[in-house]
């Protein structure tokens, strides 16, 4: 164990001194997480990214409820900024120019038609370059229309039961409408899988970059065994009064420590700098350790097929990139169609991200399945790697 620690400390010192591990393990993933956040912040809505315009040409009660209550709440959420325009022409021009991403127009007579149970409609105008924002605006309008229709249906049912509109006084109609509006819908959908179990954008990119570059960071320890063989220092280690297992142990321990340190630093840095939310620290720790073990084992196995450190580095990089893409570290591929969505789970990165999502949506116990999946990768590939590494640790 003493020799293992000595070799590990020596390797860590050398790696920190040449700064390559620092660059790959911390600086680059942190920088990329920042860049991706900046680039994709405009479409995923974690910042005040969608600019929605509204033109109330009606001014009636139904329109006011929509503008004040619905859009007011949306505006206050900070996700969407709402801009009130008097002129539909001006608003349309702003939308075409991209100043507004989408526009909702409430035409004159809207409220009157709603109250008289006639056909009423709102208009949604989208900017051609902001399809997602347009879709969101349409959803907001659809939601309000559905609510209005619910109230109208309730009132119409009562009116019909009491013999028709001519037999119900206007005051009674208004009271019925108010009561229907105040009554909660009997069936609602709470989207747990989409809302609670999905990482927000900042956390997703932070976690994605951390686990993507983890597969590069852990290479340093294992690949250095090949470097030492080429440089001649492996012969010196083999001549020293230590067991060969100590040499292998030192290299693997270096990989594990580099991996844990880099991800831990990224967790803290992205939390403090970007406001990323990783979840329960204990659950995150379990997932990080499992991911580091899986990454180290897979990269060690790849290294055993290489003749030298350069070849190993090339092969490991290819595997890391492919697994990273499959694992959804850049873009979520779990919702991709067909075989691609199933392939994602051959990548430990996918389990890591899924574990973090589950941790946010559920309790601490939610991390066990993803963690065990990653440990499965570690045991399988690590076992083969250990057998093959015995041959690497020869001159």
């Amino acid at each position: 164990m003493r020799a293992t620690l000595l070799i590990c400390l020596k390797d860590l010192r050398a790696r920190l001194r040449d700064r390559s591990a620092l660059l790959i393990g911390i600086v680059v993933p942190l920088g990329l997480a920042f860049v991706f956040n900046a680039i994709f912040g405009g479409i995923s809505g974690s910042s005040n990214a969608i600019h929605l315009g509204v033109v109330d040409a009606d001014g009636g009660p139904a329109a006011k409820v929509f503008v004040t209550n619905v859009l007011g709440a949306v505006d206050r959420s900070g996700l969407i900024s709402v801009r009130h325009e008097r002129s539909e022409v001006v608003a349309r021009r702003l939308t075409a120019a991209g100043t507004l991403d989408a526009l909702i127009v409430i035409p004159a007579g809207f409220s009157q038609r709603v109250e008289s149970n006639g056909p009423a409609s709102m208009l949604v105008v989208g900017n051609v370059d902001a399809p997602i924002s347009t879709q969101i605006a349409r959803s907001i309008a659809d939601g309000y229309a559905a609510e209005l229709n619910r109230v109208r249906l309730s009132v119409a049912t009562v009116v019909h039961a009491e013999g028709g509109p001519s037999r119900v006084p206007p005051a009674r109609l208004r009271a019925l409408a108010d009561r229907a509006a105040a009554t909660a819908a009997p069936v609602t959908v709470q989207d747990v899988s989409a809302a609670s179990k999905e990482l927000d954008q900042k956390s997703f990119f932070a976690a994605g970059m951390a686990v993507f570059f983890l597969f590069f960071t852990v290479q340093f320890g294992v690949t250095s065994l090949l470097e030492e063989r080429v440089d001649g220092t492996l012969a010196r280690l083999l001549a020293a009064p230590i067991h060969r297992a100590s040499i292998l142990g030192g290299k693997l321990l270096t990989s594990l420590l580099l991996g844990v340190i880099s991800v831990a630093v990224l967790v803290v840095a992205t939390t403090l700098l970007f406001g990323a939310s990783w979840g329960n620290p204990l659950g995150v720790a379990v997932l990080v350790i499992a991911a580091v073990l899986a990454a180290t084992a897979i990269m060690a196995l790849i290294a055993t097929f290489a003749k030298n450190a350069e070849q190993a580095g090339n092969w490991q990089s290819v595997v890391a990139v492919v697994l990273g893409l499959l694992g959804g570290t850049f873009f979520p591929v779990s919702q991709a169609p067909g075989v691609l969505s199933r392939l994602t789970f051959i990548a430990p990165q996918a389990w890591f991200l899924r574990g973090l999502g589950d941790l946010r949506g559920g309790s601490l116990s939610a991390v066990w399945v993803p963690a065990l999946a990653m440990l499965g990768f570690a045991v399988l590939t690590g076992g083969i790697a250990m057998v093959r590494l015995r041959h690497v640790a020869e001159i």
Binding site: K10, R13, A14, R17, G232, A235, R236, I242, H243
Partner: protein
């Protein structure tokens, strides 16, 4: 062809007849790489304070042989003992007795010279304080005390070579194995390395020195084993090996006076095998020119020759190698 000079009579597996335990004893070492027989039944011994040279061209099997001796490489056959202790790749305890200096510059470029020494000192079991003390001593010994804190990637080739050797000396081994330590070294550093090795043997350390430089083997080694195509074709002292050639040393005397008389007179000397008068001097083939030269000069002068200059040519290990293998050492 094998022309091994017989070993000391009565020698045992691990000790000589005086009972002194030999520092290194290896017998019948065999190593194959696929179909290639890299080392074929090589055996020799080294006593304390002795420097043994393994001389052979590149690819002769020198590094493979010492890799088995140092416990780096599994062997397919044979035995190795170091100071009486059996040695193989798993002999952790016995490895403490050996200092190994590989042919490559086996040092870490991102660490300083001192950090390299401290790392290996700790690896050989020294405590922190002891390792620091010994590292400072070795830095002094190899002349790098003032550069000990610099990363070794800033060192010159000669400085790296010296550090490479220094690491092998750290733990005061009983047997120091040096694998071609002067390859690619400038003449000044080479001379310093050879002087250091000479000094170590003087302190009682046994040295196993592989080289393909005949001059180094002749200068440093008490005994030399000549290895070719994985086989030890001959071994012994330089004189014993040269005697395998069956020819004496050559002396050319440039002289005036009675050259013919002097040549005839010298033929009667016991150490002189041939003596021929030539224009401007005398050509001689003698036994052990270094010892017998004064007597020869005396006799020539007494016979009426006036000696102007002396040129001695001794058969060297290059000639021995050529004689034994049919090819030059550097082929």
């Amino acid at each position: 062809m094998r022309a091994t000079v017989p070993q000391t009579a009565g020698a045992t597996a691990t000790g000589d007849r005086t009972g002194t335990v030999r520092t290194l004893e290896c017998r019948d070492l065999v190593r194959r790489f696929g179909d290639l027989l890299a080392v074929d039944r090589v055996g020799f011994h080294i006593d304390p304070g002795e420097t043994y040279g393994l001389l052979g061209p590149n690819g002769a099997g020198k590094t493979t042989a010492i890799s088995m001796i140092a416990g780096l490489l599994e062997r397919d056959g044979g035995e190795v003992t170091v100071a009486g202790e059996p040695m193989d790749t798993r002999s952790v305890g016995t490895k403490r007795l050996i200092g190994y200096v590989p042919q490559d510059l086996a040092i870490y470029p991102d660490l300083s010279g001192r950090e390299n020494l401290l790392f290996f000192a700790r690896l050989y079991g020294m405590d922190t304080a002891g390792a620091r003390r010994r590292a400072a001593e070795v830095l002094d010994l190899i002349g790098l005390a003032d550069r000990g804190g610099d990363q070794t990637k800033t060192y010159s080739g000669g400085m790296k070579r010296r550090l490479n050797i220094g690491i092998g000396l750290l733990h005061r081994p009983k047997l120091l194995i040096l694998d071609e330590p002067t390859v690619g070294v400038d003449p000044q550093s080479r001379n310093a390395i050879l002087e250091s090795v000479d000094g170590l043997a003087g302190e009682g350390m046994a040295v196993l020195y592989t080289t393909h430089y005949m001059e180094e083997a002749e200068r440093l080694c008490d005994r030399v084993g000549i290895i070719d195509h994985g086989r030890l074709v001959a071994e012994g002292t330089r004189r014993e090996l040269v005697s395998l050639l069956g020819e004496g040393d050559r002396i050319r005397l440039t002289a005036t006076g009675d050259i013919a008389g002097a040549a005839a007179s010298l033929r009667a000397q016991a150490s002189v095998r041939q003596s021929n008068a030539i224009e401007g001097g005398i050509d001689l083939e003698v036994v052990d020119a270094r010892d017998n030269l004064p007597g020869i000069l005396q006799e020539a002068a007494a016979a009426g020759a006036v000696i102007r200059s002396v040129d001695v040519v001794e058969p060297d290990l290059e000639a021995v190698f050529l004689h034994l293998t049919g090819r030059a050492l550097r082929d």
